[in-house]
């Protein structure tokens, strides 16, 4: 299997470290409560189909990626830099916060 690192291009699976669903990007506030934290740290959906996952290009550029992969077929639909995803999410949350 190969993953398309936005910085390095298509690279072999063996260069990457796998972390799991990209849930880890949305860290709750410290006072979000026990349930929110338990969800964040421990609970993961496990459905067949497209899943956004965290992969670290450990033997390459060091970037953390959000990779969209079909867990049933292993088809990789794309990869983004996690940093870009996080920044976009933060911006969206800020705009929303400003409106309400």
């Amino acid at each position: 299997m190969r993953l398309p690192c936005p910085l390095c291009g298509e690279r072999d699976l063996r260069e990457f470290y796998y972390q799991g669903a990209a849930v880890s990007l949305t860290r709750p506030d410290p006072d979000a409560g026990a349930d929110a934290w338990a969800d964040y740290v421990h609970l993961r959906e496990n459905l067949p189909g497209d899943l956004e996952e965290m992969w670290h290009h450990a033997q390459g550029c060091g970037a953390w990626l959000v990779v969209t992969r079909n867990t049933a077929t292993h088809v990789v639909k794309g990869a983004k830099l996690a940093m870009d995803t996080k920044r976009a999410d933060t911006k969206r949350a800020d705009t929303k916060g400003a409106r309400t």
Binding site: P30, Y40, G62, K86
Partner: protein, 972 residues
Amino acid sequence: MRVRNKGRIDRSKPVSFTFDGNNYRGFEGDTLASALLANDVRLVSRSFKYHRPRGILTAGSEEPNALVTIGSGGHQDPNVRATVQEIYEGLEARSQNAWPSLEFDVMAVNDLASPFLGAGFYYKTFMWPRAFWEKIYEPIIRRAAGLGALSGQPNADTYERAFAHCDVLVIGGGPAGLMAALTAGQAGADVILADEDSLLGGRLNLETLEVDGQSGAAWAAGVAAQLNAMENVRVMTRTTITGAYDQGTYGALERVNHHTSVRNGKAPLETFWRIAAKHAILCAGALERPVAFQNNDRPGIMTAGAVRAYLNRWGVAPGKAITVFANNDDAHRTALDMIDAGVHVSAVIDSRAEAEALGAYTLIRGAHVTNTGGRKRLESITVRSASGAQNIATDCLAMSGGWNPTVHLTCHMNGRPTWREDIASFVPTEGAIPGLVTAGACQGDFSTAACLQAGAAAAAHILGCDMADVPVGDDCAYRMEPLWAVPGKGRAWLDFQNDVSVKDIKQAATENFRSVEHMKRYTTQGMATDQGKNSNVQALALLADATRRGIPETGTTTFRPPYSPVAMAALAAGAEGKGFMPERFTTSHVATKERKAPMIEAGLWYRPSYFPIKGETHWRQSCDREVGYVREAVGVCDVSTLGKIDIQGPDAGALLDFIYTNMFSTLKVGRTRYGLMLREDGHVMDDGTTARLSEDHYVMTTTTAAAGDVMRHLEFVTQCLRPDLDVRFASVTEQWAQFAVAGPKARDLLNGLLDAPIDGESWPFMACGPVSVGGIKARLFRISFSGEHAYEIAVPSRYGDALFRALVKRAEKLGGGPYGMEALNVLRIEKGFITHSEIHGRVTAFDIGMGRMVSAKKDCIGKTMSMREGLLDEDREQLMGFKPIGPVMQLTAGAHLYEEGAEPVAANDLGYFTSVAFSPTFGHYLALGFVRTGAARKGDRLKMVDAVRGIETVVEVCHPVFFDPEGERTRG
């Protein structure tokens, strides 16, 4: 027997080889199988279970019988198919699975006992008593039923792994594959054409068919030359595509050097390739299926296609009086080719009532072969037709039940093939492997013309280009009527390799193993090296019949990679020895080895255990002496293996505040602080000291074990959680050599070496900053992992060796010297310092007595989860120290703790030891460990039980810091 003017062997180049110690001669271009047949060697193996005499069945990699061992000693290679092995001068081949010899095999008594050894025999017999399984049954079964053996010596051959990328991978170089590669090559695509044979052409080399007005073999040679001349086409012969994987990745085994005696270690024996292909065209051809009838396994009974392959490709007639038994027109070609070559054909028996003779031979239609005679070679067959039974003398029976498309690769990603009634076989299901299309015989198109056309069309379709000119080829129809097994008594063999007969399949069905997967496991049909290539479709048809279902409803078993066997050595190429575990050496490695220090592995690093001196006979003597250096004078230790991460930027302090439980943004420049980091689930991840070199420049140290994890953690936090932080960092573990200088004379030692002396006032405990040593810019940290007045000095790695030697020399002058991991461990246990023995992944800051290090003033990774009530429970096992107080004074790591009077069982478990050392400072053992309710037990007597080593010791629970609890020595 050789036949004149036939075959593609080089008769000017004779080749000598041995089989079971006998000398034989063949020619260049022979396989071991063709050369043995040319020498009239029929018996080549004993069957797996019943040790029945077996000969060569096929002419390709699907061969189930003729497995031999090649070479000896470290070069010994078992289970090599004689049909694939090319001969070379001096080749040594041996038969397998026979004792004492192939001709006289005592295990053949199994054959007489066969009524008791049928399907499910193992499951029924070797179940009880249970205690017999491992010690008695399994060794007997393994000895009796086996294939070839390894030599037991290290493999003397070399293997390689390699990677390739291409636009189009063409799998198989027969007529379809050649046209596909030619079309893609002419279109300018980057093409790889792989074929398991040494010659391109596939069956064109095995038949007398014409293509483009010339012999098929000549046409194939011409196309091969054309392809070889194209820069964008890579032709890989002797290369089997073994598996299809995700995203157009294919495994391929190239047999680089099996066909030569050149084993000089330069070229590998085999190369395992991983090929990433944008498109693949499967042109894998088809495999002929045998027919099941009584005693259809005698040496001399072969597939019809194989019989004419030996004639056409290798100039060998596998018999003097050939008979053919078939259900299709195609097999009649065997008779025609034989007659044409002047070999006698006794009869062609065709199961079809309407069959017609295609040449001048005796045809017996609507007839079956019902039995055969001869033991170690075929002598006769019994033929039954409407007019009665007759015996025919023959030494070679060519049988054919039709052809099965080679669909295997299309099933490697869980795809199921589709049943096609007209050819009574399975064809690939479209889209089973993304990016792979099929063409030619593997798609069920058996005529040469159809293959040529389909190959060109497939490539043109994929690339959107024009087809290469398609030559004229033979286009006769494939006429067949299914015939799986001839009805009758006796054992009719289906799976030759596993000795599975028609009866076994019926028995499986009777005993309700009706699912094809159950049948396979119950009978072992389709297992071992040929993976049912010769028997799957027939077995399935018979199971369908026995269970009164249609074949499509019965389903198929799963074909998994590899297509044909791959040696573990090939898969593991490059990962054996140091390739499996590379070595990391510190800059003091050479100086350390010069002192004959035994090395211990710490991850990939090698570190000294201790530095022995003359007269010492036991490691403890060395260790105790080295502890004494540090406690009484000064010791030097290489600590470069600790992870070092250079962190810079305006937000460096903010990052550290978020990573560590305690504050770092408030740390003064020129100071160092101990830090504790948690995982997000609230458990301890790692610890270490971090120094602030300037306002926006920190150097973090991690433990040796967690250096990589911490680096990845920092990457995660900065990229995924806090991309707002303006900070950069890099691992500098390899760039700096760092040495601990520890002991009351540490400052004296440094002051003889540093360009400017230091004093206690300007360098208090936990100070850090730049110094100069021999004109080299260095970093000095006043930190201690021993409880003594100590420093760590770091220089760029290129100066590490020189500095280590200088430090050791100075230390020795002051009554000290170098110390290793054993002494380092004793020193830190005496002082109650933790390592990953203690922070093993299940402990919290609270458990190790550092609960107050989790700052209330800020958020950090793991803080919220660390506050869960279960993680702050006083009842939890907490870090304490332990010392022996009874008559038994020994403590052992891993031992468990109980109340003195309690039975040592899990229900009474109070805790366990994580680190143990004999302390020369105290004169007895000390332990660190975890005990329930922790500090509340201080002063209690407990019982330590080491059930593994059988040791029981009474211990007292102590504060974990045994040595200098006030820290006066460290600060002094």
